[in-house]
Symmetry: C2
Subunit: 267 residues, 2 copies
């Protein structure tokens, strides 16, 4: 085993660089934190450049094996004191594991779809935590891909990764401008089902059997006119007054699991 670098000072330059990754987007890499997320990254074969490990904070021996696995795969391991780790952590109770991971391409051209895919289209999402929860929900519902269109946030934002609880490494994700995404989906015979408060029928009467993209809109403005015009069908989630909307990830979950239910019943 290579001798590991060890840092105890919170003012170390390397830690300053890591803290900067929490605040500012970098083109090459992104920051992840926590045992669960690192586990997903390793299982998915992500390129992990650096692991920051604070053994004093570890919850069990399984944390050591995870670090060793990352090291064998080529990650540089830096050992931190508990206080040094706290200075790079965004968690209230950090578990002593963080990593710097290489971004991968999210170009539309890289998406490989099965024959009858379910795709989630998330339009102009503003909050990275919401985007992360949408990724987690899409993964849980068995969606084949997430298409983030005109996003106001970075899909590799630390809060997106955290909200996804690591499923960001599992769900194929593409980013595209809507004017490119709409024809791209149409050319592949994907039916567009748009979820909107004024949808023509309740979501449980929607049809999700064939190749389907479920389109959900931004937190404040919902789905834009471009997608509504392109829709093959619009569905609504009937709401009890005085509520007039749901959190965007909750709305995605309600419709996606109905789609999963219908597709399963059909098989």
């Amino acid at each position: 085993m290579t001798r590991r670098l060890s840092i105890t000072s919170t003012s170390n330059d390397r830690l300053k660089t890591v803290r900067r990754l929490r605040r500012r987007r970098s083109d090459g890499v992104f920051l992840v934190e926590g045992h669960g997320v690192l586990r997903h990254a390793l299982d998915a074969g992500a390129a992990i450049r650096e692991v920051y490990a604070a053994p004093d904070l570890f919850l069990g021996a399984v944390d050591c094996s995870l670090v060793e696995l990352a090291e064998r795969r080529g990650a540089r391991v830096v050992e931190l004191s508990a206080s040094a780790f706290a200075s790079i952590s965004a968690h209230v109770r950090p578990d002593g594991l963080a990593a710097v991971v290489e971004r991968w391409s999210t170009a539309l051209a890289t998406l490989r779809l099965p024959r009858r895919p379910v795709i989630v289209v998330a339009e102009a999402i503003e909050r990275p935590g919401n985007l992360g929860t949408i990724v987690r929900t899409a993964c849980g519902a068995g969606a084949d891909a997430l298409l983030s269109c005109d996003a106001r946030t970075d899909v590799f934002h630390p809060d997106t990764v955290r909200g996804s609880v690591g499923t960001l490494f599992d769900v194929p994700i593409a980013e595209a401008a809507s004017p490119f995404a709409i024809p791209w989906l149409r050319e592949r015979g994907v039916r567009l089902v748009v979820a909107t408060p004024d949808g023509e029928r309740p979501y449980w009467e929607g049809r999700y059997q064939g190749a389907t993209a479920l389109v959900i809109g931004s937190e404040r403005h919902g789905v834009t006119e471009a997608w509504r015009r392109a829709a093959n069908e619009t569905v609504r989630i009937p709401m009890a007054a005085p509520a007039d909307s749901l959190n965007v990830a909750v709305a995605a979950g309600v419709v996606l699991f109905e789609a999963a239910r219908q597709r399963q019943a059909e098989r």
Copy 2:
């Protein structure tokens, strides 16, 4: 109209008190922010003690009328400069409206239920934002009450209010320890449906027609043994690997809207 107090200095003592409400629980009052939330508070007849208004940040004349309505109902209005308002705001783009509101009793004994209620039981929720999104989801699905059991967070936490987008003022909420809540529900003939990953049947095969409490557990540990033993039925949300769980508010939404759908179909 009473002459309004006006503050431009961010170090004003009154603003320090308001900022403290963001960080620390107070027994008598809680802090709310934003036009939408204040609207819900007024519509619900909440006791608004103080309104903090920064007209320079207002988005429209409707904000002025809201402040005037609160003033007519007895709230003390304090006008702030944009910078003074920013010092008490938790929002990236504050809309110039915040208020200090009186807490109300969340004792179980205060809950009034209809004949065949749907109740959401949220057990040991840790994150106030999640609790708020559960409140919003419960409201949207037409639930009659939310019962927060053994919560690790305050139902009047600023992030709960924010996550609820104001529906905290609309959904009847009670807080109780589980050993009191379980017999309380049983005595009222409420059927307990527990959502858990190892539930005996898929959630869409659950029965939600009569008086029903949907029980959801904490973010990390799920529903505890006490509620599982008390369950009349356990349901699961079938999950696609490698995902093994959903955000707790998303899970609540998926099951609650299925319950709403079944109850509507029956009518």
